[in-house]
Amino acid sequence: MFENRINQLRRDTDTVRNTTVTFEDVDTAIWNHIKDVIKPTIEENGITRIVPVMFASPERWRGIQADGWYRDQQSRQIMVPIIAISRGSFSKNSSIAMDKIDGVMRKTVASGYNTKNKYDIFSVANKLKPTKVHYSVTVPDYVVINYEVSIWTKSIRQMSSIIEKFVFAEASYWGDKYDKFRVSYDTIDNTVDIADGQDRAVRDTFTMNVNAYIIPKDFNNKDTTIKILEPAKIVMVAEVVNSFGEEIKTIQRGVIPVEFEGGEIDEYELFTVTDGDFITADGKNYNVFK
């Protein structure tokens, strides 16, 4: 099977991030928003303490050894307050009906300046049009992801100060500069436990509905983000016909092969070439075609 070489574009030197939105991106966006925007804190003895936010159920080595900072160094018990989030179920967002036609349906956006549009005499003399780089991204899947948020404090007053911030942040878009997702939640369950053999614990839990979208990195062995270059050649064609309407000569004028990697044409002039001629530039031969 032959691969169209027009699709074989170098991507390792790109500064453009592939438009992929994975579950990890959504998790990270939600986690960062809680840490950096909501910033849950409590007041204790006149000191403002930042409430640590963690993903639920870490591995033992991580929870005990690496993240020992939220544990009592003597007893290795978990110190409170603390917030844990965990990703639960997810479902397709039926309010946004979308048929992607196996990834064929795409949205294409053009980048701004790119390094191939350097201003030089060659471009001016030949009236070259600045080229654009297009990125074609497949249409995402829209999903609703549920997150379970558990908050554990030692007192109702501390819990209230945390929950007030979460209530205020509800029904807004959470995330970082790359990805933002609409978050909503209805009911916040509150329990105060005081049982023999355990410390008094104030626990709140609620389920967040996050309206997100998912674009995997690749699908069916193809990247979901494809880079497309605009044609850099402008071919002016003059057709000469005889009185019977038969084509006798086709002349191509101003065929300037500028789209080659890293090359610059040192000598140039306005010229007229014909079909089948060769142009040599930067040590490479270019065949003029119709």
Partner: protein, 154 residues
């Protein structure tokens, strides 16, 4: 005056007990009692984030501790341990300390909160004040974030 368990017997028991606890076993604990007046006792929620304690009282007692276990929670592993401190009443009286529910006991660098104090060890089942022999404090392990007794590392 009962024929058995006289005052002399009681004194004998105490001397034996005192020697055992203070000279042989010598397991020392420190009891922290709450300064109620300065711990916001009128709080609407019945809690205090500014709880204050009297200076700890060191006292010897008998300790019966269970192995520590772990509880898997959403927040990771948590350590659980229950423990019993048996304190002689006469020794506690000499130290001027009276353990109660909610007091904090420090032993072996760990902190324990007293869940329940049992005062049910009567010599010969007699209800005389002198023959009510001990405080048995059932407690559980707690940590410095739950109480206000030491600077937390976090």
């Amino acid at each position: 005056m009962p024929r058995f368990i006289t005052e002399r017997d009681s004194r004998f028991f105490y001397n034996i007990n005192n020697e055992l606890v203070n000279d042989v076993v010598e397991t020392e604990i420190q009891i922290f009692k709450t300064v109620i007046a300065e711990s916001n006792p009128d709080d609407i929620y019945g809690e205090s984030t500014t709880r204050k304690y009297y200076t700890g009282v060191r006292i010897n007692c008998l300790i019966n501790r269970a192995d520590s276990t772990t509880d898997q929670t959403t927040f990771g592993q948590n350590v659980i341990q229950s423990i019993t401190f048996a304190i002689n009443r006469e020794i506690a009286k000499s130290k001027n300390v009276y353990p109660e529910n909610g007091d904090i006991i420090q032993w072996n660098s760990f902190l324990y909160e007293v869940d329940h104090v049992s005062e049910n060890q009567h010599i010969a089942g007699r209800s005389d004040q002198d023959l009510n022999w001990s405080f048995v404090c059932n407690a559980h392990m707690t940590n410095i974030s739950q109480i206000n007794i030491a600077e937390r590392s976090q």
